[in-house]
Symmetry: C2
Subunit: 328 residues, 2 copies
């Protein structure tokens, strides 16, 4: 029987889950939950009901797992621990500093209800974290490097859209090629924030806005831009809509380290992603971990997990025999 | 208490285990086992006893795990299943086609003895297999590509050393840059054997040998060289010893795939390794999995495992809390 999946929320990530569930024949989308009036929401999959989140307590027999697609700032800290009392759940909570407290809250809820939860899943945190962990275990003596991009940073795009005179805007984070090459060479460079990434902004200004003032305000914005070399381009609304509609992203995780009796041998481990659609890729990661969460719950392993706790074979629809024969 | 590790064999891989165990403070090398006269073997670590393999049945209380460092062709198919009756064991069995039967034999031995075994660990099979599995689970619609090198192929080096007139020789497998770039572009190229890798041989010829005949025999050798563009260099013994002593290797694993309601978004997942020392890196992977094997056995999980069955957190000396706080 197919795994019955529900989606909570209907933003970019949720729509990614909706599209990617079709690529997993052992899964079935059985409902979308919204805080809005369900009648106001038309989803892309025919025949799948839309419910208000108020209905969640009544439908616990109809779903094997809920993919919670809220934001990390305010939604997920409330939603995941709440819904883990009713369902197996998975989220993409990505506020790194608050992961330990989110974990504890979700763990308590899930354990009390005999449910299984998995938090902070996606590519960072998620696949990047996994690669940091594997590489650190393999090379105990070494250095870690993470680069993001080239890709759209939602947080930075939001920040530039709040500047007076900005009608629309998008920010790309770009890793510096020479920094990537220095890391790849195994030379263990010490890199400042400015040396690792540049930031490029594409802005549609309001008519009559002071472009020089906008550019200055962006470039001097603390935390977001002041520590980076930032380029600001003013473009037309037409060009913006044509060339900057996508949510592409990606990045690089490196560990460089040494082995040998005298530390004489160098090694470079690199993992990198080039993604046309950040939300659809994140959704794809969530779905294979959703499969593992349902299996763990069936095995009686309840409480909160992260990608670190999941044996890779649990993610696959294939059997152990098939995996050993074809992928090992 | 430190994990008490034994090494069976004392070739390149075993010496790698010996050097890398020093980078894992929770592990201790407690003995090396050889088929030769132990008095004939001097190892690099002071105070560690060398035993004949005949002593293995007597020392089962003195070791938590044996790292079996024999060759895949004839040693490991016998050794791992035999020693899994006495110890928790780990090996780097790399004959892909025979993994299923090796797994079954080791699983039966280990289960009967309440021991835990892990086979086919290293980087390929091993980390490359893991990356193939993760990427296949994330992107169910896509294509896999594996490239090896630049690095020394032991099998091909052995083959050229068997050619009449060859005194010494080393073969490098080199991935073709244009093929790597075609894969990275997400264009899903179909690549022939010849398009993916070239082979480069460095030969020290016997005095008076027919160089043209050697080159012809190598380039036409079926399976090993006939399907590749091969370059043969004749060099002096001095140059050979100076420039070709290392056992460097590496490679690339890619999965490219699509997402979206209409498959309109492309994604590229890349994992690559650049290794100065193939045996020391392989040993480093074996050691963190050895930690996991000992833990699994303490938890009562016996029988044969592969890297697919091991939750990543089990590889680390850090606690779950530490991992979530620092690596997620």
């Amino acid at each position: 029987m197919a795994i019955r999946v529900g989606i909570i929320g209907y933003g970019n990530l949720a729509r990614g889950v909706e599209s990617e569930i079709r690529r997993n024949p052992d899964m079935k989308l059985c409902g979308v939950f919204t805080r809005r009036d369900p009648a106001s929401l038309t989803i892309k999959t025919e025949g799948v009901p839309v419910y208000n989140v108020d209905k969640l307590p009544e439908l616990t027999n109809d779903f094997d797992i809920m993919v919670i697609c809220g934001g990390s700032a305010t939604d997920l800290p409330k939603q995941t621990k709440e819904y883990a009392k009713l369902y197996n759940v998975i989220d993409s909570f990505d506020t790194h500093a608050n992961i330990p407290q989110h974990f504890e809250a979700v763990d308590a809820s899930a354990k009390a209800a005999n449910k299984t939860a998995l938090i902070s899943c996606g590519w960072d945190p998620g696949m990047f974290s996994l690669n940091r962990l594997y590489a650190n275990c393999i090379l105990p003596e070494g250095n870690d490097y993470t680069f993001w991009g080239k890709g759209v940073s939602q947080g930075h795009s939001d920040a530039i859209r709040r500047v007076a005179g900005v009608k629309n805007g998008k920010q790309y984070t770009i890793p510096v090629d020479s920094a990537l090459e220095a890391v790849r060479s195994g030379s263990n460079p010490e890199l400042t924030t400015r040396q690792k990434h540049t930031r490029e902004c594409f802005i549609v200004a309001e008519e009559g806005a002071d472009l020089a003032a906008i550019e200055k305000e962006i470039k001097e914005m603390p935390n977001y831009f002041a520590d980076y070399d930032t380029t600001v381009h003013f473009i037309s609304e037409e060009e913006f809509n044509r060339d900057h509609a996508r949510l592409n992203h990606g990045g690089f995780v490196f560990r460089t380290g040494t082995t040998g009796f005298d530390g004489e041998n160098k090694h470079v481990i690199e993992y990198n992603l080039k993604l046309d659609s950040n939300p659809e890729f994140t959704a794809s990661v969530l779905l294979c971990y959703a499969r593992a969460v349902v299996r763990l719950n069936e095995m009686g392993q309840t409480g909160c997990k992260t990608v670190f706790d999941i044996a890779p074979a649990m993610l696959s629809p294939l059997s152990g025999e098939e995996l050993r024969a074809h992928l090992l």
